[in-house]
Subunit: 282 residues, 2 copies
DNA sequence: ATAAACTATGAAATTTTATTTCACTATAGT
DNA sequence: ACTATAGTGAAATAAAATTTCATAGTTTAT
């Protein structure tokens, strides 16, 4: 089965009135969509252009253009359906599991293009570029990404933190100012600690960049800049595995973009540290 | 072969100067086209927006929009080709960098199949399944993977550690026994701390599973079980980024395999913890 | 050699399409 | 009954695609 259409079908009941009309029309005429405009589609589905755009966001795709593109691609494939997640039902052999998890991780990374908005990403890079201090915060499955960000941006010379301890971290927030950035990482966008921390930081004037699922969660709504990860199949066995890959890829992209923009200035220090690492290795 | 690209290739010599530039750019970067605008493409190809539109007509496609759509569909069908990593050379825009890093990460994961040996992987799963305690150790770029492993296997009820502090960690090694496992993570396989630790652990009777590049490094030679990551392009800008993805994917696969083998027994406790997490979220 | 005719090109204008904002409505919670 | 909130489409705005047009460079005819 087809993942975008399947996703629409599954979530049909969670959608609002106008969005449901959209969903039904799309499910009935998937092949027509890629050649339609928002106006066409809104007329056919009996809604408005704004609802078309909102519908795309609701099913986890950042824009109507991307929606059309992805749908076209999927319909083109039509057969290649390895997207079947109940592989863990039966007793699989370890090596099968390895191959499946590779596939899932790969697909998750592929899907980021559908959820990450270009403009938001550019805003994030720009903000970080001019930031004084960075705070990375994520708990549970998102702690890995926070640590990774902390590690990478420290290498670029940013005073950064990524403490796990919420109360410890809280005490550092009042020292943040307008040029400081909190990177709040939470798959669900509902994690209480992450939310509290980002609210507090905003109150103190810092900017909050959220790395979170494209979904109308509190964190999504409240963040200043949103870097969205795709909503992937939620199977409890896989848990946060593919999400963590997408979070990390976004961190990677931020890091490389900032490194690229900083240019030669930072590179010489970077190399200096690197050479020391190699020297100390022996 | 691919009909649109083939058509461009065949007719390249019949095209005018500006159109030829277009054709060459499209042939070199077909995957990027569907997400580009006329402006993007005209800049990259060194022509004007009008030439982009004219180019589409010249190769027999009525509009740029249709061109993008058709190209996307075709590429979706036969997705398997290029594996070239040297695109981070020039000054790129943030969003380009994002796309490139996604691609690199994806490719790296794909490549694990070529480096990870099935038998070694099965041995590793089996060993961990019967282990009493686990120690994850990795420094620098590999610290993320160590932390992630620590986090995951703790969820499965294993007494695990993943400390950063070498000397602190050393003091716990003499308490390891035959059933304990050290997962030593190092890209190069030459990192001094990781090597020392794994030698010490082996002397005390523990088993060392190495997650390291497929290469005749000291760690590769000395480990009891080798889970090899593919050797990917070593560009200092990308650094350890793709390697870290492969390390994490291996950890994921180990985790899921162990979870799967443990079966129902562990699942009930797992769910218990999970429900608490969800409850505490609100 | 020179003018006329033609061609290719990019800048700018126009049209179309997508996205955002905003005011209004319905509905739920107090 | 009164807020607060979510959902909606009309209208405004932004972005993207397409067309027009002036110009520069070629070719052709005389």
């Amino acid at each position: 089965m087809n993942s975008i259409l399947a996703r629409i079908n599954e979530n049909l009941h969670t959608l609002s009135e106008a969005e449901k009309k959209m969903g039904i029309y799309v499910l009935e005429n998937p092949k027509l969509i890629p050649n339609m405009t928002t106006k066409d589609l809104s007329r056919k589905a009996g809604t408005s252009e704004s609802s078309v755009v909102r519908f795309c966001k609701s099913i986890g795709i950042e824009s109507f253009k991307t929606f059309k593109l992805e749908l076209a691609k999927e319909l083109a494939k039509e057969d290649f359906n390895l997207t079947d997640f109940n592989f863990l039902q039966k007793k699989s052999e370890p090596y099968d599991i390895f191959q499946q998890v590779s596939f899932v991780n790969k697909s998750a990374i592929e899907a980021i293009t559908t959820s990450l908005e270009r403009k938001e990403f550019e805003k994030a890079v720009d903000k970080i570029l001019h930031a004084d201090k960075l705070v990375f915060y994520g708990v549970g499955g998102s702690a890995t990404a926070a640590l990774d960000g902390f590690y990478k941006f420290t290498k670029l010379g940013y005073p950064s933190t990524a403490h796990q301890d919420f109360h410890f971290l809280l005490s550092s927030i009042p020292y943040l100012n307008k040029n400081d950035v909190v990177i709040a990482i939470s798959m669900s966008g509902k994690t209480k600690d992450v939310l509290e921390l980002s609210r507090f930081a905003q109150k103190e004037g810092a900017t909050v960049i959220a790395i979170t699922n494209l979904d109308k969660s509190p964190l999504y709504k409240e963040a200043d800049i949103r870097l969205c990860t795709p909503v992937v199949e939620q199977d409890y066995r896989i848990g946060s595995i593919p999400s963590r890959m997408t979070q990390l890829t976004i961190i990677d992209a931020l890091y490389l973009s900032v490194l690229n923009k900083k240019g030669e200035n930072v590179l010489s220090r970077y190399h200096e540290a690197r050479n020391e690492v190699i020297r100390l290795r022996r």
